[in-house]
Symmetry: C2
């Protein structure tokens, strides 16, 4: 929700392996304007748009070594490194980005930007509306994955980058990769789609809709105008996160990590309202509470709805039509225990890519981590990405 100062120049420095060599700065730039707005998929206009991003590694003179990283639903631009040596945690894909890592910053110039509608620097419902001088809230226009990618492509243009060596992302990030292929079919060499699909399943929509209802039901939601009210709809947002979090885990990983073990006792308490008695309950409660400290409820509404709407085939008149003009090589990877984006969906996508004569590799990766595997199984991912790139 902090807005870094305008700094259009890329952070064009080596990115190393030690903590000191991995200090990165969050950058940001204002794109579009009131006169030259982004025309959204809904038909509405939006501009100016501030985009927060980070870069890792050095842009080649030919500007031909760029990898764009698309983050997932609640991720952000801070994919790797730390903002200062005092930071406790590094970026969300830190083990995967660096010299000799899966995305090798000795070779590649890596860019990751926060999505449109997000809450960590890129324009979204928490941003100040130029018209009202108050946070947009629900006055923020409806956004889609298409709009997110248009914004990121505008960032690339701003940085003088016209062609990408690769676009990579998992989950909602993978949807962005597919959208990128459809929008700029000849401007990327490799498209890497992890734990994702060409459309959100009806089951995925179902979980999103109950999550959003939990937010709407929170008395502090106040129709999205909670920013100046002192209280955010944290109970509803935490509940939405808990529901979603279950879908990110596999039955096997929950069973292994928590099973039916109790949190603070060896014996049942026989008390109805003790809702953290089982370890799994305590864990979900903790995850929900942690989430509300870093994420905005309105952003969650907008971004889950963007996910619901994503359907590459219906947008471009068929999956074949969406990908038929691209020269990119595809790597599609799914995980054995991911039931939110099951392998069957990846296989369907691969079939379409094969039938249109695209260059496509497909891996079904073994993991017990469920949907979250693309964030956790870094060693495995590193191997296949290195082999592919």
């Amino acid at each position: 929700m902090n807005q870094p100062a305008d700094n259009p120049a890329a952070d064009n420095q080596p990115f190393g392996s030690t903590d000191a060599e991995r200090i990165v700065a969050k950058q940001s730039v204002e794109l579009f304007s009131d006169n030259d707005p982004l025309i959204l998929a809904s038909g509405e206009n939006l501009g100016p748009i501030r985009v927060a991003y980070e870069t890792y590694g050095i842009l080649s003179a030919e500007k031909d070594n760029v990898i764009f990283v698309c983050h997932a639903l609640t991720g952000d631009a801070h994919a790797a490194g730390k903002h200062s040596l005092e930071d406790e945690k590094a970026g969300w894909w830190d083990d995967f980005i660096g010299p000799g890592r899966g995305i090798d910053t000795d070779k590649y110039f890596v860019v990751c930007a926060n999505v449109l509608g997000g809450c960590t620097g890129t324009t979204g419902p928490t941003s100040i509306s130029p018209k009202t001088s108050k946070p947009f809230g629900l006055d923020f226009p409806f956004i889609t994955v298409e709009d997110i990618v248009r914004t990121h492509r505008a960032l690339m243009s701003h940085l003088g980058i016209e062609h990408l060596a690769a676009v990579i992302g998992g989950s909602l990030g993978g949807m962005q990769v597919l959208e990128w292929v459809a929008q700029a079919p000849e401007n990327l060499d490799n498209a890497i789609v992890l734990a994702s699909a060409a459309q959100l399943s009806a089951q995925g929509i179902a979980f999103n809709t109950v999550g959003r209802r939990a937010i709407y039901a929170d008395p502090h939601f106040q129709n999205g105008e909670y920013y100046q009210k002192g209280e955010v709809p944290k109970y509803g947002l935490a509940l939405a996160r808990m529901i979603a979090h279950i879908t990110y885990l596999s039955e096997a990983s929950i069973e292994k990590k928590f099973g039916r073990r109790l949190q603070d006792s060896d014996e049942f308490g026989f008390e109805l309202q003790q809702e953290t008695e089982f370890q799994i309950e305590s864990y979900l409660h903790y995850q929900g509470n942690r989430f509300v400290e870093r994420f905005d409820a309105n952003s969650y509404l907008y971004l889950t709805r963007a996910m619901d709407y994503f359907d590459l085939a219906s947008r471009y008149g068929g999956l074949d039509a969406a990908v038929k003009n691209t020269t990119a090589r595809f790597l599609i990877a799914s995980y054995t225990t991911d039931w939110l984006f099951p392998s069957s969906q990846s296989r369907k996508l691969v079939s379409s890519l094969v039938s249109t004569g695209r260059h496509v590799s497909y891996c079904e990766l073994e993991s017990h981590f469920g949907h979250d595997a693309f964030l956790l199984e870094i060693e495995q991912l590193t191997k296949i990405i290195k082999a592919f790139l």
Copy 2:
């Protein structure tokens, strides 16, 4: 929540195939007392306890033809027939109970009773507390599957029935069947467990806990004392039901029935707060709203917690110990697309039964209906139950 008049006699009449021959009366009886209470698993006492039940068919002179039907989480004693010719809907297992049906009322005397803690006639949080003359609400004692079965066994004793030809149930009903085996190992001939397990999985606990939190978060919940307040926590209860309902369906059945189809339009509305735009959203919303008309929020809290606590092995010092003394034959059935009670859990149970030398049959039944299959795939179920009995 209606309390039928005390009528301890069984409705001992033929149960036929035509609507007129399938009129049944809800009966009820008061068991236990303040002086002779049920001692609950928690150590607390409860008495008197009113039990609502229905019967179908004729009790043999030898009282040796009794099948007890255990209902699932939100079911009730009204398993078959209608209460009057004007009723729109018949009981929840109507196609399965009757002359020549899966549970053949020409042969068997069938009993189904509402569970302790329920809200359709058996004592639960909606009942009037003798101490306060107000509904119990959260003063109702903590109950377990063990307590539910003890109550039903007391009902059987009251009806003069000491031995059962079979106990059958799906989901929470299947848990009751297993508990019945442990409590009365030599008093039943057949134990039929459908879409269930010997313990609720951690994933099952996870979904229950978020459902309960949705109820607690509803401002109308009022710590469970909403009965005289004019408003029930219907938004929270509907949300809990929506979450649970997703887990009762399979990904395949949702995809087939709804897919990504929109409810009232061929085109997206690009409106954030239109939460019934997709058919699956509209369906879940409808299911949530329908549920609050027939179910009590406090009962939902108590009964889901009873499910969470159910763990036959830990209660009886191991699964083997729980079943080793029974003379019952077992039929365990699971469904291919049930991910709430997956086949793996049934197989685990079957292994234990086999290793203790029990007589056990196991079927994994093909269905795309997910967990709900035991309520929907009646033709298939009829075949295997007839063959087994």
